[in-house]
């Protein structure tokens, strides 16, 4: 494809934000609210709240092939089609159009559009604690986090108060409470399992998931209507996304310029001032090259593309990639594993049912290695997520024999209660798990393809074995029958929690960002997407990105105001 080498449109802004997903939306909102003229760049198309949710109100029978993807879907999107369905396919990229190289199997799920993957995220909101922030230091793994819980706690509150998180306070040190809206409710079997765990296990409990689904109206959105169709986009604004919340809020200030179809190819370095001066983009529609300039830049392209962008931005000052004095950029890639768990059937409560489709499940917060002297074959821990329900037709088709009237009657009435649960486990940062640029292959905009080399190691595999065991034990003690344990053996990336490729740390020699997500090597560049994570913890990470973003925006603004940037 021909890319014009004439540079157009040299406009200046106070701030540029690269990427409009969950953290980029936050950066744009915070910077705009502080009065900075902000340019928000997004490589994909625009998606307007409600208007651009074409499937949101469709019925099951509106899909010609039901919930099946077509042969063509599987052929052109071998990776994405393993996550999407006909109802939310339009919020995923096409693999054919956006290829990447898997050195070892890695599922990289992407949503290139305004709002990014905040449209399709799992909405779980959990705080990290000092158990997480101090783990690397205590164990001598990778580098120490440059922050502690007290540094981020007020920003967690700030983020939660904006997005609206429903949840139950539990007073746990490993999973601090937040600012919660009324929790959603556990159903009969989940309560039963919870009571059994409380009775039988020390330092374990079962609580309702903490989710960015609104149990009452909030921020002129919601409440959640319990349709459980979140990944299509919510016409009620029942859950938080950039599209439903931060981007409209940024627009309301009058300070936001949103530019979709803008593929940022390079961050430009100003040799004289020794900081970034702006970015170069390719307009995906016209293939024209533009440059935009600003005082500060927030990089929120998401973990893997952020690493790619930095590595692609070379200069005499940064021959190995922008801000890459430490040679850590692209390395230490992490993703939670969520492969292992157990499933069981219960024969009680057959006279009980539920109404509505709660868009969340339960959580058994981390209970492994809470103290230094536990004797397990692995470091760190996991939290268990799951849900209880009565067996319905989708799950019966394999087990139900026969045909005809009786078969139909059984098929269409509630089956026994079941519980499915799996461990979301911490993944250690390994230098060898990495993203690099391929030296030969290019995409259709002549940009180098990203190469991902990742695998889980012994620590993660041993943890998965423990998850199977503890999950099955808890089900057994609660009287479940037909318990089956599983390990789905999905490749890395499958939990869609990529992290770690531009980590925070105290020492510029071993880390990319300082304690305020500011680049050690270029003080006016801030990175607050998943790439900043020094360790993965086991909590779903988006809330932490949002809190760190808000915190970094405040810091950047103060620095700018005081003339330091």
């Amino acid at each position: 494809m021909y890319i014009s080498d004439k540079i157009k449109n040299q406009q200046s802004y106070d701030a540029i934000v690269i990427g409009s997903g969950i953290s980029g939306g936050w950066a744009a909102m915070e910077l705009c609210k502080k009065g900075l003229k902000t340019l928000l760049l997004e490589r994909g198309r625009d998606v307007k709240h409600i208007t651009d949710y074409p499937t949101a109100t469709l019925n099951p029978w509106d899909f010609k092939f039901g919930y099946n993807n077509t042969n063509k879907d599987r052929e052109i999107d071998p990776v994405q089609s393993s996550a999407y369905g006909p109802a939310d396919k339009h919020f995923y990229v096409s693999d054919a159009e956006h290829p990447y190289i898997q050195e070892r199997p890695f599922h990289w799920y992407r949503g290139y559009q305004v709002g990014g993957r905040s449209l399709t995220w799992g909405r779980q909101c959990y705080r990290l604690s000092d158990l997480d922030f101090m783990a690397n230091m205590k164990e001598g793994i990778a580098v120490d986090w440059p922050i502690r819980y007290k540094d981020i706690a007020p920003w967690y509150s700030y983020a939660e108060s904006h997005i609206g998180v429903s949840g139950q306070r539990e007073n746990l040190s490993q999973l601090p409470d937040g600012e919660f809206l009324t929790p959603m409710e556990l159903n009969c079997i989940e309560k039963h399992l919870g009571e059994s765990i409380k009775k039988n296990e020390q330092n374990r409990l079962l609580t309702i998931a903490r989710v960015a689904n609104l149990t009452r109206g909030w921020d002129s959105r919601g409440p959640c209507q319990n349709r459980n169709l979140c990944s299509r986009g919510c016409p009620f604004g029942g859950y938080f996304s950039s599209n439903s919340s931060t981007i409209p809020a940024a627009f309301a200030t009058g300070n936001l310029t949103l530019r979709p179809h803008s593929i940022v190819t390079e961050i430009l370095f100003d040799d004289q001032k020794q900081k970034a001066k702006g970015v170069r983009i390719i307009d995906a529609l016209t293939n024209e090259v533009h440059e935009f300039y600003s005082k500060i830049i927030f990089v929120n392209a998401s973990t893997i593309p952020t690493a790619g962008l930095l590595l692609n931005s070379t200069s005499s000052r940064f021959p190995n990639g922008f801000g890459n004095d430490s040679d850590q950029i692209g390395h230490n890639l992490m993703d939670h594993h969520s492969n292992a768990g157990a499933y069981g059937v219960h024969d009680k409560y057959t006279d009980q049912y539920y109404k509505g489709r709660r868009p969340s499940g339960f959580l058994i917060p981390r209970f492994r290695n809470l103290t230094d002297n536990e004797n397990h074959s692995f470091k760190r821990g996991y939290n268990i997520q799951g849900h209880g329900e009565r067996r319905e037709w989708m799950d019966k088709s394999q087990s139900l024999a026969g045909f005809g009237k009786d078969f139909k009657a059984q098929l269409t009435t509630p089956g026994p209660w079941t519980v499915w649960m799996a461990g979301w486990g911490e993944c250690l940062p390994y230098y060898k798990n990495k993203v690099t640029l391929d030296s030969d292959l290019k995409d259709k905009w002549d940009q180098p393809l990203l190469k991902i080399d990742f695998s889980f190691e012994e620590n993660e595999n041993k943890m998965m074995d423990d998850i199977k065991q503890t999950s099955a034990d808890m089900l057994e003690k609660a009287g479940f029958k037909d318990i089956s344990i599983f390990n789905y053996n999905k490749p890395g990336g499958s939990t869609i929690h990529e992290m770690g490729t531009a980590r925070m740390g105290n020492d510029p020699k071993t880390s990319v960002l300082n304690r305020f997500n500011q680049m050690h090597g270029a003080k006016n560049v801030f990175i607050t997407d998943g790439s900043c994570m020094t360790s993965s913890a086991s909590q779903n990470p988006s809330l932490t990105y949002m809190a760190l973003t808000a915190r970094a925006c405040q810091f950047a603004f103060d620095q700018l105001k005081n003339g330091h940037l």
């Binding site: 042969n71 063509k72 159903n187 539920y354 489709r357 139909k408």
Partner: protein
């Protein structure tokens, strides 16, 4: 060789034999089918689906046009192997009907139809799970099992199936976590 080893070995050799047989079939089955051949069986597929999910006090598979769903999904969402396997299955069923009752399936009465479907339900796949797994992988899901699963899907996702055969709650609003099961309570159509 003790008895146990013998059984184990014969199972393994049996599997290998079947696997090589499967390789031949795999070649035959990889050819694209003409969509028309499947659409020509629309009526037959509709009758079969109705035997699996008949009309009772709620509509059956036929009223819900499950046959159209089945053909659409087979043609667009399954590979050539699966399509061939399904077509062969339909042919086998027709041949069985003619052999046994001297007429096509569509001409059979309800009792005869039930007996024919019963026969194929009983002979769906081998009794050995490993062989089934290998066969499913190489040749697609067995005919009857595919027919039954697509009938279930097509019915439960259809407007009549979801709203009358099951209970459809378009916009629940509230979530009620534990409520007494109502008399004649149908399953929720979606989750």
């Amino acid at each position: 060789m003790n008895r146990r080893t013998y059984i184990k070995n014969s199972l393994i050799f049996g599997t290998l034999g079947l696997a090589s047989f499967s390789a031949f079939k795999w070649f035959e089955f990889s050819k694209q089918i003409d969509p028309k051949t499947l659409w020509d069986k629309k009526e037959l597929i509709g009758e079969l689906a109705e035997v699996i999910i008949p009309e009772t006090d709620t509509p059956g598979a036929k009223a819900a046009s499950v046959n159209v769903y089945i053909i659409n999904v087979l043609l667009n969402c399954t590979d050539a192997k699966q399509q061939n396997k399904f077509l062969t299955g339909l042919d086998d069923l027709e041949n069985y009907s003619i052999d046994k009752y001297g007429k096509t399936f569509l001409k059979c009465n309800l009792t005869e139809k039930d007996a024919i479907v019963e026969h194929f339900a009983d002979h769906s796949g081998y009794s050995n799970r490993l062989i089934n797994k290998i066969n499913n992988k190489l040749l697609g899901e067995p005919f009857y099992s595919k027919l039954r699963n697509l009938t279930i899907e097509g019915y439960c996702l259809s407007q009549l199936g979801a709203t009358q055969g099951l209970a459809y709650d378009y916009i629940p609003g509230k979530f009620e976590s534990c409520i007494p099961l109502q008399k004649n309570q149908k399953s929720w159509a979606t989750k």
